[in-house]
């Protein structure tokens, strides 16, 4: 379960950053996320949809405790992210489309590293490793260095690394960005599997196809504010445009 309540985040910009980002005004601050509230429930996929620069990544980084909220609060699995960030992180799996791996290590070493960081016991590690390596077919290249692996193989290792501690909440930040169709499909399958296993899943995207393919719940974010928050079924039902994509564009343009 993720509960986001009146969440805001403020960043201070340098003059150079303001110029480059085209931010007007005398204030050195920007609010990439402003007073947003939503909740993600276990066994459901929550999609955070928005154009580039809408505040998706900032929101997910706040949930994963990489950033601290300026205002508002977040609870993950009942734990406050500001009070107990370490415990929150132990319950989260985090994956992005641009996630890299350590080129000089092997898949086995990387999985072991993240398992150790998450403090999982030997027995749980052996069991989880076996399950993930079987599922993702990692065994044939488990001892080869990451630098020698294909993009698809690397993405499988990224998935295994994210899931090795069997997190109850999984955060995907634009997980298919830059991936080929086959690898992207593996990620989609992973998200579905997480839902089936009763995990809380939140993923951000700007790809409409993924929204209709996976979403149970949907939030549309633009310039740091939520334009829609509800179930995907309701969104489709109250759609005023011809397609979901048109509706999304209409909402963004009207905002």
């Amino acid at each position: 379960m993720i509960e986001v309540d009146k969440l805001s985040k403020r960043f201070r910009l340098t003059k150079k950053q303001k110029r480059e980002m085209g931010v007007d005004g005398a204030s050195p601050y920007i609010w990439p996320v402003k007073e947003i509230s939503f909740s993600c429930r276990p066994g459901r996929v929550f999609t955070l949809l928005g154009p580039n620069g809408a505040g998706k990544t900032t929101t997910l980084r706040l949930i994963a405790t990489m950033l601290k909220p300026t205002e508002g609060s977040i609870k993950v699995a009942g734990l406050d992210t500001q009070r107990e960030p370490r415990k929150v992180r132990a319950r989260i799996g985090f994956l992005t489309g641009t996630t890299g791996l350590y080129g000089r290590l092997t898949p086995d070493e990387i999985i072991r590293y993240y398992a150790d960081l998450n403090g999982i016991g030997r027995e749980a590690f052996i069991k989880n490793r076996q399950r993930l390596f079987d599922l993702l077919d990692i065994h044939p290249f488990a001892g080869r260095r990451i630098a020698k692996l294909s993009t698809g193989m690397r993405q499988k290792v990224s998935i295994a690394r994210t899931m090795i501690h069997d997190p109850e909440v999984v955060v995907f930040d634009e997980p298919t960005t830059g991936l080929d169709v086959i690898t992207a499909r593996a990620i989609i399958e992973l998200i579905r599997r997480c839902r089936e296993e009763g995990k809380t899943v939140i993923f951000s995207t700007h790809i409409m196809g993924e929204v209709s393919l996976l979403s149970d719940d949907l939030a549309i974010i633009h310039k740091g504010r939520l334009l829609y928050n509800g179930s995907f079924t309701d969104f489709s039902a109250q759609c005023q445009s011809r397609t979901i994509e048109d509706e999304f564009i209409r909402l963004v343009q009207e905002a």
């Binding site: 960043f11 201070r12 950053q17 480059e20 980084r61 994963a64 405790t65 990489m66 950033l67 601290k68 370490r86 415990k87 992180r89 132990a90 989260i92 985090f94 994956l95 992005t96 641009t98 996630t99 890299g100 791996l101 350590y102 080129g103 000089r104 290590l105 070493e109 590293y113 993240y114 150790d116 960081l117 998450n118 403090g119 690394r161 994210t162 955060v171």
Partner: protein
């Protein structure tokens, strides 16, 4: 701290698999001195041998004087006498390398010498380091000739040579060979290991922070249960260790170079080996540890700030100068370790090492250097850990 150890182990393994780091950390410091010393001594020995066997072309104008000089010349080998070059042409002949030296005895040379005054000889040469060795041979000839003339004059005057020896100095120089060499080259040693300490820590520092950002692995690490403090300490430990190891390798390389290189004069070699004794090494390393902490923390802070590997490298490379300058200042003879200079980082290590090698460092000053370095090391590490907690640094836009 368990997570710090996990991160440290992983980063160390990752770093030790990086060829570039291994080359900078082990290969260069270990091989640089053996190679440099081997090349320089080989060239020196070769030049000396060539100078000894080279046929000297000596242009001579006697003006019918100094007949004894020809007798002296005959006693020396490999001298080619040229008598057809006029004095006006001698300078050009030397420049064009047709001759090595020119000697012109004054027209009244014999007459002046007979009157017990000094006879004039004009000596043409082109002094350079290269001709120094050959010039020694011509000077030996001149000394022989001078000795002959002086002996003849003393005999003629029926004087004993001892009449001119009015002072018998019995010199007792209390400076030991170790002190003398420590003073002369002691400043060079920190020049070597301080720079290797910095350069050795540089690449791992870049790779472990800016490299992590560039690869996109930083987010997954930050999303793990490890705290920022544990992450930065794990990384810092590896950067510190590589810097220290690199400095250690440079000293080992120097030791190997001294043991392996032939051609170094025996007395100099034994003094040099005495310098690199266990006590001096341990004292020097005690100063290197806080210095390495300081370097590692500063380099890691820069790397954390940088967005990419290239950006970190472009900031750190000019910093080499900031390291070299204080070490270089420490080479000047006028600079001594005092209560004030003991507080200036890097310069204090340079000056203290010189005094450790010379065997005359005052324990209080050594303690001051160590404590001031520990203080700056602690502050820089504190800065580094706080820096790593700053969101604006970690997620700084490119």
């Amino acid at each position: 701290m368990k997570k710090t150890a996990i991160i440290f182990r992983k980063e160390l393994k990752d770093t030790l698999r990086d060829r570039r780091t291994l080359v900078v950390m082990i290969v260069i410091p270990l091989l640089l001195f053996p190679i440099l010393m081997s090349i320089s001594t080989t060239i020196m020995v070769k030049q000396r041998k060539e100078a000894e066997v080279k046929e000297l072309k000596l242009a001579l104008i006697r003006n019918d004087n100094a007949a004894g000089f020809l007798d002296v010349l005959q006693k020396h080998e490999k001298i080619k006498l040229i008598t057809d070059i006029p004095e006006k042409a001698m300078s050009d002949a030397i420049r064009e390398e047709r001759i090595d030296f020119g000697l012109v005895f004054a027209k009244n040379f014999d007459e002046v010498v007979a009157s017990r005054a000094p006879g004039t000889v004009r000596f043409y040469l082109k002094s350079s380091r290269e001709t120094d060795l050959t010039a020694r041979r011509i000077r030996a000839i001149m000394d022989d000739f001078k000795e002959n003339l002086l002996s003849a004059r003393l005999d003629e005057m029926e004087l004993d040579r001892q009449v001119f020896e009015v002072l018998a100095i019995d010199k007792h120089d209390i400076v030991t060979a170790k002190e003398r060499i420590g003073e002369a080259i002691g400043g060079l040693l920190p020049y070597i290991f301080v720079i290797f300490c910095f350069v050795g820590a540089m690449y791992p520092a870049i790779d472990l922070a800016a490299g992590e950002k560039e690869r996109g692995t930083i987010e997954t690490l930050l999303a793990s249960p490890a705290t920022r403090m544990e992450i930065v300490l794990g990384k810092f430990g590896v950067v510190f260790l590589t810097g220290l190891f690199s400095a250690g390798m440079s000293i080992l390389g120097l030791y190997i170079a001294l043991q392996q290189t032939s051609g170094i004069p025996e007395d100099l070699l034994s003094a040099l080996i005495k310098i690199i004794d266990i006590k001096s090494i341990l004292m020097t390393f005690s100063l290197l540890i806080p210095l390495c902490i300081f370097f590692a923390a500063i380099l890691l802070s820069i790397s954390i700030f940088a967005h990419t590997f290239k950006e970190a490298q472009s900031i750190m490379t000019p910093m080499n100068i900031l390291v070299i300058v204080p070490v270089f200042i420490g080479l000047f003879p006028g600079f001594k370790l005092t209560a004030v200079t003991a507080l200036i980082p890097i310069l204090n290590v340079s000056l203290a090492t010189r005094e450790i090698i010379a065997g005359g460092i005052k324990p209080l000053l050594l303690a001051e250097v160590f404590l001031s370095l520990m203080a700056i090391a602690f502050l820089s590490l504190l800065f580094c850990t706080r820096w790593f907690r700053k969101e604006s640094v970690i997620f700084r836009a490119g």
